[in-house]
């Protein structure tokens, strides 16, 4: 066994082990912390699968932003220590769950081991389209997201808006229009403020860089936007920035900017290139970067708003 294979095996065991810990930990908060570590380990698995774009997304969204969301939730739930949990599962339910899980995992493993020996792939089709609809994009994943399957990506941005509205709608009637609660209860101390002051500007730069190179190299609107979102959250934790009021016009416009620009350019494609969501050959790359720039804004605003939760105050 080569060194790399041994490392792979170790990584695999570690990921499964941490996942098992997350499921079985007695303490809620311990499970949450386990999940955050799990997200970061998973990013390494993606690197090993030659998926740097996914690894970046997993590290930023799956590990980072989801981590903040869950840790914040765990702390807020702990504060409501009296919260009553349902009855613990009976033995019958556990056996049933275990049997079902084993069945599904077993079937899945069997199918994975017997995938067709000549794997089907759209990579050749994507390579061919790189001179047409994906013109000028060196990163095929960006071409898939913003050109070949642009309809998915546009609608997925609408999902984000619905999620933001759904989160807001859980708040109290009297609080509507106000700002969400700050991400961190205690007053920030020196270390936190220093961290935000040093990290946020650097992170901002790196986020923009990741977005900008995304057309040709790993990165893009998702990863760049998620990094900007993370920097925004660090600044909010240090109270260098307050969460905006949810009725702020600027906030609403920033949230719809990505899908709205996507939709307008997509419809304009009917006139410019003869098909909805098509790009004229010579302008494909600048148009795609234009759309992505607005998507970065929407993602960078939507993720911190989703973590911040509903507008605060006016509790019954």
């Amino acid at each position: 066994m080569s060194v790399l294979a041994a490392l792979d095996l170790g990584l695999a065991l570690l990921v499964v082990g941490v996942a098992a810990w997350t499921v079985s930990a007695r303490n809620l908060f311990a499970a949450v912390v386990g999940y955050v570590a799990y997200g970061l380990l998973l990013a390494l698995v993606w690197v090993r699968l030659y998926a740097p774009d996914v690894a970046l997304t997993e590290a930023a969204v799956g590990g980072g932003v989801t981590g903040v969301l869950l840790v914040t939730a765990g702390k807020r739930l702990d504060a409501l220590a009296s919260a009553e949990i349902g009855a613990p599962p009976g033995r019958g339910l556990k056996i049933f769950a275990g049997a079902l899980a084993a069945l599904v995992a077993g079937a899945l493993a069997w199918v994975v081991l017997t995938l067709p020996s000549t794997p089907p792939s759209l990579a050749p089709a994507a390579a061919e389209a790189a001179s047409g609809p994906g013109a000028g994009l060196g990163n095929p994943i960006t071409a898939v997201l913003i050109s070949y399957r642009s309809f998915d990506t546009m609608l997925e941005k609408v999902v984000l808006i619905l999620a933001v509205l759904g989160v807001w709608s859980v708040g109290a009637d009297a609080a509507w229009g106000r700002a969400p609660a700050p991400l961190r209860k205690p007053e920030p101390d020196g270390a936190m403020i220093l961290l935000a002051q040093v990290l946020a500007p650097v992170g901002l730069l790196i986020g923009l860089h990741i977005f900008w190179v995304g057309a040709d190299a790993p990165g893009g609107a998702f990863q760049g936007g998620a990094l900007l979102a993370a920097m925004g959250m660090v600044a909010m934790m240090a109270r260098l920035m307050a969460p905006p009021r949810i009725d702020s016009r600027k906030l609403r416009l920033a949230l719809v900017a990505g899908p709205a620009v996507f939709l307008v350019v997509g419809v304009a494609g009917l006139m410019l290139a003869g098909h909805l969501f098509a790009y004229p050959q010579n302008f494909a790359k600048p148009l795609i970067l234009f759309i992505e720039a607005f998507m970065v804004v929407s993602i960078a605003v939507a993720l911190p708003m989703l973590v911040s939760g509903p507008p605060d105050g006016g509790a019954k």
Partner: protein, 111 residues
């Protein structure tokens, strides 16, 4: 064993672990964690499919990878909505149980 086959088995194990947690754990936040485990297992299956599809000079098939990126963002949005509901439920009622019986007022019947 190639890394992609290994990752596929990890994905299968994660789906199984998550499914077990989803069914057997009564706490909704724990169910949410378990759902995220299942989700990442599913994404890994996409990942090995992408890696196996390496062709035409690409080290991977870009289509499934793009789907994973979309999926990760959607899974995060779902987690945020679920967390908001759980916190509001706990704050409004002091309970986080999903057991329907806990929410039926006496005399209203139902299950």
């Amino acid at each position: 064993m190639t890394p992609s086959v290994l990752a596929g088995l990890v994905g299968a194990a994660l789906v199984g672990l998550g499914l077990y947690g989803l069914i057997s754990n009564p706490h909704p936040l724990r169910k949410l964690l378990a759902f995220n485990l299942v989700g990442s297992g599913v994404f890994l299956v996409f990942g090995i499919v992408a890696r196996r599809g390496a062709a035409a000079g690409f080290a991977f098939d870009p289509v499934p990878q793009a789907m994973v990126i979309t999926g990760i963002v959607v899974a995060f949005a779902a987690s945020a909505l679920a967390v908001a509901l759980i916190l509001r439920l706990a704050a409004a009622s002091g309970k986080v149980t999903l057991d329907p019986r806990a929410w039926t007022k006496p005399g209203e019947g139902g299950q």
